[in-house]
């Protein structure tokens, strides 16, 4: 049973865009994430769940921390894609501060490069159960 409708905030911390478009695809028809009551919001202050994609470049590090601190309470973080999880293809990059869980606590990891929309929806559903 889903008793809440969490709002999402998407943070691209420097990836290849693949995960971001899969995230949007999971909102679009065909997958329709919104049926779980989620909407993408433009401000972290309105959001319960933070979706982080990308390998966290050095420029993004500070900003990711700040956005995490602005998130509404309960602060669930979902890391999407191999590069958010471990660096993926950019593991040996000199400009990488990540992975995400070195910077902010992560609740749910969705692997894949990029993960399929089904996997993203599954991750968000798992987060919903924890809310």
């Amino acid at each position: 049973m889903i008793s809440r409708s969490p709002w999402l905030y998407h943070f691209n911390s420097g990836g290849c865009n693949g995960c971001d478009i899969e995230l949007i695809a999971s909102i679009a028809p065909g997958f329709d994430l919104e049926r779980l009551g989620c909407v993408l919001k433009g401000s972290p202050r309105h959001a319960d769940i933070l979706l982080v994609t990308g390998c966290v470049t050095k420029q993004a590090e500070k900003r990711l921390k700040r956005i995490y601190s602005q998130l509404a309470e309960k602060k669930i973080v979902i890391a999407i894609g191999s590069c958010a999880l471990s660096g993926g293809a950019f593991r040996s990059s000199y400009n990488r501060a990540g992975p995400v869980d070195r910077i902010i606590p992560v609740d749910i990891y969705i692997p894949g490069c990029p993960p399929r929309p089904q996997a993203i929806i599954h991750g968000i559903k798992t987060a919903l159960e924890r809310l």
Partner: protein
Amino acid sequence: MECLLPIGPYHPVLSEPEYFKIRVEDGRVVEVDFRVGYNHRGIEKILEGRTGQGVVPIVERICGICNFAHTTCFCNAVERIAGVKLPERADWMRTLTAELERIQSHLLWLGLYADAMGFETLFMHIWKEREGVMRIFEEAFGNRVTKGLNTLGGVRWDIKNEGKIRGVAERIMRYSDELEKEFSSRLVKSRLEGVGVLERKDAKRLSLVGPVARASGIKFDIRRIMPYNAYRELRPEIYTEKDGDCLARVRVRIFEVRESCRLVLECLEGMPEGKLKTGLEFRDGETVGRVEAPRGENLHFVSIKEGRIARVRVRPPTFANFSAVPYMLLGERTADIPVVILSIDPCFSCMDRIAVYNERGERICRF
């Protein structure tokens, strides 16, 4: 009244991080400054010193939307250095996939653009059609976004779902007529017509590429100027517009969706039988690979020394087009800023190539 309007680096209008500093006077833009580089991952450096097939998946991760254009560009360059001629079927496979990717990419942009205009229903409709292409990719290559099809010396898989590809191409071809109607409705026109105008001479001076240049009346398309792969035989038609405004950029892309559908069907007709790949060894030398990515000319400079990659320079289309944004924005209303910025279809993960440090290791500026 004058004020400074900061947009970004993380802003709901922009799906990727970048920063604009815009000075507004009486609701009109008078000065624009921008800063990019938040997405810089140092791919060129990661590639240095590597050899073998393992470099292709890294090149693929330059951009999620036009990854096939990047790998094709890179592979074509390395193959040219090695003096390898591709089997014919591999050439055609590359062209087929590149055109499918163009359809996907343009539909993605058209959808996001509709959303930026505030027309969310259209966004949903367009992405529904786009999903058809993504499903083809998933069936054929096992992955929706990064296809993993290209390899140095050919392609890795054959297509198995020809009937389905034909069906989707025909469907989207019909749909593009509908799209054209949607985008010429009175409401959309009032939002886009005459907004963000770029004259032909400015477009020429700024060396623009791709649909943005074509919307300003410049007939420039690498597929025709320097044909590669199967474009040597297929001759894509180039469509140009004269107005150079946001609406013209939309119309050029809608036309290209239709043209790509036609090319996909032609590819399926003309696809020769044969091998998919040949062997390839890294040879020393340097060259430039050029392909027409969905956003315009994509250019890779590749230099190989002692059998290893010594340098790769990636000049993606957004890098060429981005310099035009300040010119387009000048004099526009504040409310039109998002539609103007998005009209060049910016892709910052392609473009963020540099971060500059001083001798103490502090970052001093970003491009």
